[in-house]
């Protein structure tokens, strides 16, 4: 336990539970971990999903290599075959285990978000952490559930394997001719690099003044440094707002770029044909 932790645990125990949402039920700690109702659900479904994956991929030796590490890296649970559409199947050869693992993973992720909500509530802080995590879940749900349903086939989901999902990603780009021409992909990548940029600047900025402090150094030195070199200092609250929205918009725009592919747009190169036909310069 941290030196100040006992006080917050006592306060947390005094916070009333909300039984219908499961928030504040099973309010106890195992070591450092808070348990809670949603912790039990997350642990249950996470264990089932992970065990199925390890059994199918590592124990059954899918790559016939006899090497668990090679199986872990190369092995995969393939997405269902296209002929079952978006129906349920119990045929292991047609993707039963993929459906089970995806369902377990989705339940686990949402339970984990509810657990963060629970902890935010008993610590009496804002709900930005579960909100941000729900955006991360939205990427998984968009790729594995919403887009396959829109296209009418679970086969559109990605295979569950370490290198297999890289192959899926690589192939996905070329299926729609050139994903680099997808404007929402471009915005998503710009914000991904932007995330790295903001994170590096913020991390380095705080490290430059915090820690073993020089005499008299305060946040005013940071402000004057940024006025000097950029002409603007966004401020201590502003930088965290910028951080939050850069990261979240990166994921949300990536969702858009994926869900449009195959549903409304088949070819991201041809998508730009409208550009030269715009009225103000067509025929020029």
């Amino acid at each position: 336990m941290l030196s100040f932790e006992a006080k917050y645990r006592r306060e947390a125990i005094d916070t009333p539970a909300i039984p219908l949402l499961g928030l504040g039920l099973f309010k106890l700690w195992i070591g450092r971990f808070y348990v809670g109702f949603w912790g039990i659900i997350a642990l249950l479904f996470g264990t089932i999903g992970a065990s199925i994956w390890l059994w199918r991929v590592v124990l059954l030796d899918v790559t016939k290599s006899g090497n668990p590490l090679v199986n872990f890296v190369r092995g995969q649970i393939e997405a269902p075959s296209p002929d079952i559409g978006t129906h349920f199947t119990t045929d292991p050869a047609k993707g039963f285990w993929w459906l089970v693992v995806v369902a377990c993973a989705t339940i686990t992720f949402i339970s984990w978000m509810m657990r963060q909500l629970d902890i935010s509530r008993i610590l009496k802080m804002g709900y930005q952490v579960p909100l941000a995590f729900s955006v991360a879940i939205s990427a998984w749900v968009t790729i594995q559930i919403i887009r396959p349903i829109l296209l009418g086939s679970w086969a559109e989901g990605f295979p569950l394997g370490v290198l297999a999902h890289l192959d899926w990603l690589s192939t996905f780009g070329y299926r729609f001719y050139n994903f680099y021409y997808n404007p929402f992909h471009a915005l998503g990548v710009a914000l991904l690099f932007g995330s790295g940029f903001v994170l590096a600047l913020h991390g380095a900025t705080i490290l430059s003044a915090a820690g073993k402090k020089k005499e008299g150094v305060t946040d005013h030195n940071i402000n004057t440094f940024y006025w000097d070199f950029l002409g603007y200092s966004i401020g201590e609250i502003g930088i965290h707002r910028l951080a939050f929205w850069t990261a979240l918009m990166c994921v949300l725009l990536s969702n858009l770029c994926l869900v449009l592919s195959g549903t409304l747009v088949q070819n991201w190169s041809a998508f730009w044909n409208f550009w030269n036909k715009l009225p103000f310069w067509s025929g020029f």
């Binding site: 297999a164 150094v217 201590e236």
Partner: protein, 305 residues
């Protein structure tokens, strides 16, 4: 709401009296603009960057016959391309890539001057030069792509052109030319760092925003003497995942993961070509390619025997 209020009261710095405010962002971020420091390194950086931009934009204009409507219509497609491979590393005629060589040279100089400028400003403001140190990691990636890899291959043609589409075309073609960059282990590490930086940014931003009423955003003070806001920010992650950083160490994690992304990316580009010409074959030799590649409607075998 704006943290500026605090600093204005605390300090008698002249820079707080010479101010220009943008009122409409009040409540979102600090409102004061400037004063910007110029200095000799600033003049040099801005001058060389300005010449780079001038060369590129003037080259665009020349390539559309000085027609402003075509300039706007084709802006995304226009590019100043590097010289053809036949010129090797020699200076090419201006219209056949010489402009690219001059623009890239000026751009590199302006980046170095900008680094020196940030460094000198950090010293002048009595803080450690951590920002310029991390900036060198980004410069290393730039140098790997625009200088080290082209020199290792003996032609400037390996570098991206100066154009919006040209960079996308380069990234796409570079991956295919060297056997699919998804199989480059350094590219994997770099992507891990980049996606990780998005994750860490969201986690840190969300944690601090959730505890602003308790002043967790005053991170330089909190790093020295943590109070309730920082305690809650630490406890949420300790209770969620059994691990928490501190007000100082979260920023070390932040800087480290971006440096990983930049340095691993640069090493991946430097090793490409002379040392490993085909990353897919590397992956086949390393035995990490899945047996089949799933392609939407059907499966195709991956490695040839």
């Amino acid at each position: 709401m704006a943290t500026q209020v605090q600093t204005r009261r605390d300090s008698a710095d002249w820079r707080l009296n010479k101010r220009f405010y943008v009122k409409f962002i009040e409540g979102l971020a600090d409102t004061q603009i400037g004063p910007l420091y110029i200095g000799v390194w600033g003049v040099l950086a801005i001058a060389f960057f300005g010449m780079t931009v001038f060369l590129i934009l003037f080259g665009y204009l020349a390539s559309v016959g000085y027609n402003p409507i075509r300039f706007v219509r084709e802006f995304f497609v226009l590019s100043i391309e590097p010289p053809a491979p036949s010129y090797g590393l020699k200076m090419a005629p201006l219209a056949q890539g010489g402009y690219w060589q001059i623009a890239t040279f000026f751009l590199t100089l302006s980046i170095v001057f900008w680094l020196i400028r940030i460094w000198s400003r950090a010293i002048a403001n009595n803080i450690r030069p951590t920002v310029p140190i991390i900036f060198t990691a980004a410069i290393f990636l730039y140098a790997a792509i625009y200088i080290i890899h082209p020199i290792s291959m003996g032609t400037w043609n390996e570098a991206p052109g100066h154009g919006l589409r040209a960079q996308l075309v380069w990234a796409n073609a570079f991956s295919i030319k060297y056997g699919n960059f998804y199989y480059n282990p350094f590219h994997m590490l770099s992507i891990f760092g980049l996606l990780g930086s998005c994750l860490l940014l969201a986690m840190h931003g969300a944690t601090i925003l959730a505890t602003i009423p308790l002043n967790s955003h005053r991170e330089i003070d909190e790093a020295e003497h943590s109070t309730a806001g920082t305690h809650k920010a630490q406890l949420i992650w300790r209770w969620v995942m059994g691990f928490n950083a501190t007000a100082t160490s979260i920023h070390t994690w932040a800087a480290a993961i971006v440096v990983l992304a930049m340095v691993a990316g640069a090493l991946g580009v430097i090793l490409t070509g002379k040392i490993e010409p085909d990353w897919f074959h590397w992956a086949c030799r390393a035995g990490i390619v899945p047996g089949v590649i799933q392609a939407g409607a059907g499966n195709v075998p991956a490695c040839l025997p």
